[in-house]
Symmetry: C2
Subunit: 316 residues, 2 copies
Amino acid sequence: MGNRITDLLKIKYPVIQGGMVWCSGWKLASAVSNNGGLGLLGAGSMTPDVLREHITKCRAATKQPFGVNVPLIYQEIDGIMKVIIEEGVKIVFSSAGNPKTWTGKLKDSGITVVHVVSSSKFAKKAEDAGVDAVVAEGFEAGGHNGREETGTFALIPQVRKAVSLPLIAAGGIGTGEGILAAMSLGADGVQMGTRFALSEESSASVEFKRLCITLNEGDTLLSLKKLSPARLIKNELFNKIKELEDRGADADELLELLGRGRTRTGMFDGDLVNGELEIGQITSLIREIEPVETIMKKTVSEFNNALKKLKSTDGW
Amino acid sequence: MGNRITDLLKIKYPVIQGGMVWCSGWKLASAVSNNGGLGLLGAGSMTPDVLREHITKCRAATKQPFGVNVPLIYQEIDGIMKVIIEEGVKIVFSSAGNPKTWTGKLKDSGITVVHVVSSSKFAKKAEDAGVDAVVAEGFEAGGHNGREETGTFALIPQVRKAVSLPLIAAGGIGTGEGILAAMSLGADGVQMGTRFALSEESSASVEFKRLCITLNEGDTLLSLKKLSPARLIKNELFNKIKELEDRGADADELLELLGRGRTRTGMFDGDLVNGELEIGQITSLIREIEPVETIMKKTVSEFNNALKKLKSTDGW
């Protein structure tokens, strides 16, 4: 078909798998790339050495393009970027930080750079920094989230108006119908996190995945706003956080409760009580853990059916 | 064209004007109905006598169908419903309360009943109560809002799956592209509040409207979660509320700060400092105060253009 996103990333479908912490290793990324989307390794939960291993294994598992998601505020960012450049990775999705710092260096190494934003203001900054495309991610998304709390329905047209870059919509999208809706709002492609986090190939613990496919609307909420806002499942840890927040606790108290490594505890080790469990709102629509091949086939078929239905709609 | 919403409500376009407090008098409702949508009077800020006056004037100003929005938790609900039935109103949109209490009585009087919900659970309850259609309103919407905080992108497919009723999408929709996106997700029509609140015919104060068309993403936030969550503009009153909330104030303290009549003060009287200012996230996309006729013409043309564009899209 060919659009600005498939052309830029040299992929078949404009469907990107979000590079999520504890979910997005080489198995997931290569499966998505092998099925016509773009797989992303999630460097946010990897040391530089572990990332190198995943890049090597991903390359062995697919001949198709794949990339790495890098949260720019990550402590070991220099080591991560060194590995990415040394290993000849062709695509980087950066997030959570200033795109000015790394975009130039990455592009000098021939890397396509896409930056994740939560507002049109940040989209413009990313455009100024020279990125090749932006992901506009709305409030529905799991994990870290913008302070503006702009939902995907309001965010996409706003970013579309603000920048001329290829635009990838994210947040609340987990079906082919969602992709068509995002395109109606002006997106060229989509990033789906939650849908792929709950695939068989995702490296998240099976306990975490099994919990997610039983969740209903309202079972996740944006939390930790005095630190860095994140969408969490309402488990026991969430309730403890909420109790502190409700009585006016400050950032220090929240940090003390959280300690370190809570997302690993929850999502990777499968401690559903004490772990920090990050997933998007669209989890309430996903009721099965399926292989990526099935997910991609269903998504393509949903998209085609929804498009066909719209094509038979009369204009006003 | 004819779809389940236009057939049910006997209107030309499946576009409903949200029945908002302090914005939705007979001038706005009749203008929307005269231009092919469905106008709604907002009973939430009217006494029964004032509502009767607006119904009379609206009927004099349009031969097209119009309706009344009624928040079911309203103190004077009995008086409001009495006026609606006596005046022979044909369409009621109910919200904020249990649809079981009134749906049967209204339908016995030959009234079409549509209920506003924020989740698929409440949509099912509305279906059980016998309503004719539901409005599913997402987190992006202005004013009162669901505790689940589900964004429109995640909400619409969830409600579509849960009920077979005609479905009207709301929250973050203010353009023809947004309408097409909502339809892609399974909606039969849309309700737009913010877009019409900022029209010339809206009874909101010009000060309020002028402020809204300068707002950017993040300039509204969901607030008052310990009372009843509402999306407010970040003005001085909002900052005072936030200060209380940040230090853990309880519902009583918040009620004491708010006092009574704050939405009237802000939205109708135009006190932008001390008033409670309710508007949806899509306000950041609206940069002009226009007559309803222009808004409807633009919306229809945006919808047709977006549909034409999608029709030229290849399937995958």
